[in-house]
Symmetry: C2
Subunit: 165 residues, 2 copies
């Protein structure tokens, strides 16, 4: 969800700019871990509405809607580290992806327990443990300079549509 | 979680007794679906603190603590149907099973996406779709008269300890 459907970086850029007076750019943060890029990130993540008010990643909605018709789709989100995020994430999905039912939502800690054929994620810690056939790395600044490894890299939702639809 | 770790029926007996003046017993409800047994169940499930205030199922804590040392353990709970339940269930686990970390918690709708070797559950709708090796049916009134099918039935946590420890 974060970094694939929900635009975490736009949210972090906004909050970081309020704290430090200058807006960082993709180039400023590419290739760096979020923790090293945003000095106050832990404060932001625990703030009320951090997850609820995120922007939707460009182009995701129409593609997810089509994927939802073609596949048995689940939205799996690491959420239990931030207890406030659970209900915020569900409300966010209900608002921006209203065709996703509660049966299709999973809020977890580790994604190692997920059984599926295809996983789209922005973190190697999730993709590297995935046992399904196809693992797709969604480019975000923190992974932008990393080697894809066995995963297929996509830069936007149109590329996902080209592969899966 | 519900019906395996959290004592849903005690909670339902309490609330039903408040509404109707007479406390039902296990024998009254055995072999019947919860929806047919408790006329106001939908109201109870959406009530604040329904999930937060449940009693712990007898004998579960020491066995889960030992299982947690012997196995790679996850607590998987159907929760997204009742948005209030998400944070209540996490708080409940933190209180009653403090050795379970956020990494081990999964709050979902359908459990068909779960990859594991052993599943302990009280519902056939979860066990019947499980792809792991061992499926254990935890007796609760709603399943008490049903045929186990391919699942191994246990009546209490001591029996789980005898099998798994």
């Amino acid at each position: 969800m974060d970094g694939v459907l929900a635009d975490v970086y736009e949210q972090l850029f906004d909050m970081d700019e309020k704290d430090f007076g200058k807006r960082k750019t993709w180039d400023d943060v590419a290739g760096k871990k979020e923790n090293d890029t945003f000095p106050h990130i832990r404060k932001y993540l625990y703030k009320k509405d951090f997850f609820r008010s995120m922007k939707v990643i460009s182009g995701s909605q129409p593609v997810v809607e089509k994927l939802n018709k073609a596949y048995d789709l689940y939205i799996v989100s690491a959420a239990t580290e931030f207890p406030l995020s659970l209900s915020e994430k569900q409300a966010w999905l209900n608002e921006h992806f209203p065709f996703i039912t509660w049966q299709q939502m999973v809020f977890c800690g580790s994604k190692q327990i997920i059984r599926a054929d295809i996983m789209i994620d922005d973190h190697f810690k999730n993709l590297d443990f995935f046992k399904g056939q196809t693992s797709i790395l969604f480019t975000q600044p923190h992974n932008a300079h990393a080697d894809n490894g066995p995963h297929r890299r996509v830069h936007n939702w149109q590329e996902i549509a080209d592969i899966l639809l």
